[in-house]
Symmetry: C2
Subunit: 112 residues, 2 copies
């Protein structure tokens, strides 16, 4: 706990932008080229490239170039980081609630 985790910083930051989330959603459907990925967005290609760079640095997306076309795909592994962190938090407070419930049940038991 109290982990600095710069990689979680990068992943959450990458997902904190609706354009980048939409890119991730598109890539969840299937891998695609940069220009196909960019097509629905009302911004310049360089802007899309910068978003793509953020996604790649976070580990959420990988890409490789063949000829003049770069194909991008989701890296499913990095998604696990987010899922794991949220699950850990949840289990922490649910554990706490369970203990509270146990305590209440103990009180009820004593009343009888």
């Amino acid at each position: 706990m109290l982990n600095e985790s710069p990689s979680l910083d990068r992943v959450f930051h990458a997902l904190a932008d609706s354009t980048r989330r939409a890119m991730v959603e598109r890539l969840a459907l299937r891998p695609m080229s940069v220009s196909e990925l960019a097509s629905p967005f009302a911004m310049s290609l360089p802007a899309v490239m910068q978003h793509l760079a953020v996604l790649e640095e976070s580990g959420l997306v990988r890409s490789h170039k063949a000829g003049r076309v770069r194909t991008c795909r989701i890296d499913t592994e990095t998604f696990g980081l987010v899922e794991r962190w949220t699950a850990d938090c949840r289990s922490e407070w649910e554990g706490r609630l369970d203990k509270l419930e146990d305590y209440i049940n103990t009180l009820k038991g004593q009343q009888k």
Copy 2:
């Protein structure tokens, strides 16, 4: 899909900072006052307050003041937003992989 979702923007942005994640982790253990929440961090109280404001605006944390002490607690509901978005993405690409697997199985069937 292709949802703008400013609330997801806010939630992910709130979680994209290790101090704020640590605050969430602390509050997952139990509700606490601002100064207790702030105690492990090597920064000024106003800085902590600003992080708290970001967390509250995202919906991840609620607080109320009694006398001179403000007590903060996690709002578990907003966590669901993150869990739901990631689960939706995952099911999208897993659905795709299932379909690919089906297709491969069909090919195998044809070979026999």
